[in-house]
């Protein structure tokens, strides 16, 4: 099975909130210098899923990332885990990226890679949490898509996919080629061995320019109405304190439970 995995480098989502501020000019969340750049956690679930599929049925794993030079670190990590090839698509400073353009650029890169059976993406990136890119990529390529996948198994040339639904789980039989957006429930990404990580760290990750994949943002942006982010703010939490009283502890507990239910906490 030939699998393509799309990964993204993001500011460490576990860094303290105090280390982020909103840049008024660009309306983007800006991390402070002390926030490390890491692999988007969901994308590492996708890499792990690809490796497990390869271990089960064989094949080849190619990892793609659209981003600046530093994104190579995430690709090296994926190679150390067990991916066969990795290519960075240079995002070119000055370009303004959103889910739509990213999906189309990655679609162009996928076409350049050529033959594939399955594309895996993380369910969302931990920086914007838009969750649109995977679905957008499937649309751009015109292939089937299952989002929020929590399990995938090879089944006679097809795959069986379990999806996290609003209530419960759904199971699909999916013909290939297809794209899955992978949720963290699917697996625990492995740590690479020190030896493989060092070897991957010393590797040069090839990069393709936008011209090389035949992508022109200017041409595309004329084809859609477009979205512009006009404001980015952190809502101020309001705190009120309410005492739930009762004659006995049991009564107070019962009243508290009812109150919590009214607030839809329970």
């Amino acid at each position: 099975m030939n699998i393509i995995v799309c990964v993204k480098q993001v500011p460490d989502p576990e860094a303290p909130t105090a280390q982020f501020r909103i840049d008024e000019a660009t309306k983007r969340l800006r991390p402070s210098k002390s926030v490390n750049l890491v692999a988007n956690p969901f994308d590492m679930n996708a890499v792990e899923a690809a490796i497990q599929l390869k271990e089960a049925v064989g094949g080849k794993i190619t990892v793609l990332s659209l981003g600046p030079e530093s994104s190579s670190d995430v690709l090296k990590q994926a190679v150390a885990m067990g991916a066969d090839e990795a290519v960075r698509i240079d995002s070119q400073a000055g370009e303004s990226w959103d889910s739509f353009l990213t999906a189309h650029a990655l679609a162009a890169a996928v076409r350049k890679v050529g033959q594939f059976d399955l594309i895996l993406c993380g369910r969302q990136a931990a920086d914007t949490n838009a969750g649109q890119m995977g679905v957008g990529l499937a649309t751009a390529l015109g292939i089937s898509c299952v989002s929020f996948a929590s399990r995938v198994e090879p089944r006679n040339g097809k795959i069986e996919v379990e999806r996290i639904a609003d209530k419960g789980r759904e199971v699909f039989e999916v013909a290939l080629p297809a794209l899955l957006t992978v949720s963290n429930e699917m697996n625990h990404p492995r740590f690479p061995t020190a030896m493989k990580l060092i070897a991957a760290g010393r590797q040069q990750i090839p990069s393709w320019s936008l011209a090389e994949i035949g992508f022109d943002a200017g041409q595309l942006s004329g084809q859609w109405a477009g979205i512009e982010e006009t404001e980015h703010f952190i809502p101020r939490p309001t705190t009120t304190c309410e005492f739930v009283e009762g004659e006995t502890l049991e009564e107070a507990g019962e009243k508290l439970a009812l109150r919590l239910r009214a607030e839809k906490v329970l």
Binding site: Q77, A80, T193, A194, G201
Partner: protein, 382 residues
């Protein structure tokens, strides 16, 4: 001056940070309470190659130099010290002598097993009457045909109860001592005449064990002589130079963690209507901690890099060990003071780290011995 860390080392440092955060730190309290690292984590560390970081690739390791290894230890030191001790003997004072002085046969037999963690090592120099004055060891090794017969007692040996392979320093010529009368031997567990003595009860270091080792007419094949006969003091000192820089890396990592905990705590803890972080008394402590940490980091990275270039770093290693471990103890003291009462309690890691860091001013040569080494080198030059 370029202090950029090579990419592969940066990635390994980051992975170790991740491993500490996700897998090791969550069990730190259990390690302390049960004085044992959960078996599945020992296995994981083996699988990920942490036992063979400094073993050359041709023997199954990652071939890291001192800078790379120090970067890993700096991260590992941010959780329970048992994890550092778990991998430090194979990578440093236990394995390094075989890497540097072993013959091909010895390297082929031991290094691949040390790299996978199948075998664990211990370094046996210290004796009841020979700690700082290592050259006054009493353990003897007398040649008898194709064997050496060892007699004597070692103590405070980290890993004594569970190591498989011991690097044992013994006297082969009582008159010559450090000037050619000391030799190093590889002794395997189970060699007749070798036994593990009493296990010490330490102030800290839960999850590891230190013990006596007893040699009673212990016959060691002459092929287990490490380096040449009479070269043993040099073998031991070379291992200690390596170990001293690593001891500095451990102290640095622990100090960084204590500063991080202190900053976090100082911002949250409110007294007299303000977070204590807004009080100058606390700010000055934090500033001093950060400054000393920065100084240690620069010393350590530079000394480790110099060692990797093949330069003799005996003096720098002593400086890194002296300054780094004394610094970490000062940082631990301030961290505990900033935390106040809760810092003294076992619910917070500060109390544990404070205890565990105390030994770092003693092991791999006390602070006083480091000063002696530095002064000796200094006076030799002028």
């Amino acid at each position: 001056m370029d202090f950029t860390i090579p990419k592969e080392l940066e990635l390994l440092k980051n992975m170790t940070r991740d491993l500490v955060k996700k897998e090791l730190e969550p069990v730190a309290n259990d390690v302390e309470e049960q004085s044992k690292i959960p078996e599945h984590l020992v296995e994981k560390m083996k699988q990920l190659g942490y036992f063979g970081l400094t073993v050359p690739p041709e023997y199954g390791g990652s071939g890291l130099g001192l800078l790379g290894y120090s970067l890993v230890i700096e991260e590992l030191a941010k959780t329970h010290i048992a994890f550092f001790l778990l991998i430090s003997t194979n990578n440093s004072i236990g394995g390094k002598p075989i890497v540097s002085f072993g013959n091909e046969e010895q390297k082929k037999k031991y290094l691949p097993r040390l790299a996978t963690g199948e075998w664990r090592t211990a370094f046996a120099l210290t004796e009841p009457e020979a700690g700082s004055d290592a050259a006054s060891i009493k353990t003897t090794a007398v040649r008898d045909g194709d064997h050496f017969v060892l007699n004597g007692t070692k103590h405070f040996i980290t890993g004594g109860p569970y190591a498989d392979v011991f690097i044992v320093v013994a006297l082969t010529d009582k008159k010559l001592r450090a000037r050619g009368g000391i030799s190093c031997f590889i002794v395997e567990k189970g060699t007749p005449g070798f036994s593990v003595g009493r296990v010490h009860r330490a102030m800290g270091l839960a999850g590891s064990q230190q013990s006596d080792l007893i040699f009673k007419n212990c016959r060691v094949p002459a092929s287990n002589l490490l380096g040449k006969e009479g070269q043993g003091f040099g073998v031991a000192m070379d291992a200690l130079d390596h170990g001293r820089i690593v001891a500095g890396a451990d102290a640095l990592g622990a100090a960084e963690k204590l500063l991080e905990l202190s900053v976090e705590f100082a911002k949250q803890r409110v007294t007299f209507g303000k977070p204590i972080a807004e009080r100058q008394a606390i700010q000055w402590m934090l500033a001093d901690m950060a400054t000393e940490i920065y100084a240690t980091k620069m010393m350590l990275y530079h000394a480790a890099w110099k060692a990797d270039q093949g330069e003799d770093v005996a003096r720098e290693a002593a400086m890194v060990k002296l300054y780094g471990t004394e610094m970490a103890n000062r940082v631990a003291d301030k961290a505990l003071q900033i935390h106040g009462g809760i810092g003294y309690m076992k619910e917070y890691p500060v109390e544990r780290m404070y205890r565990d860091l105390r030994v770092t001013r003693i092991w791999e040569g006390t602070s006083e011995i480091q000063r002696l080494v530095i002064a000796k080198e200094l006076l030799k030059e002028s």
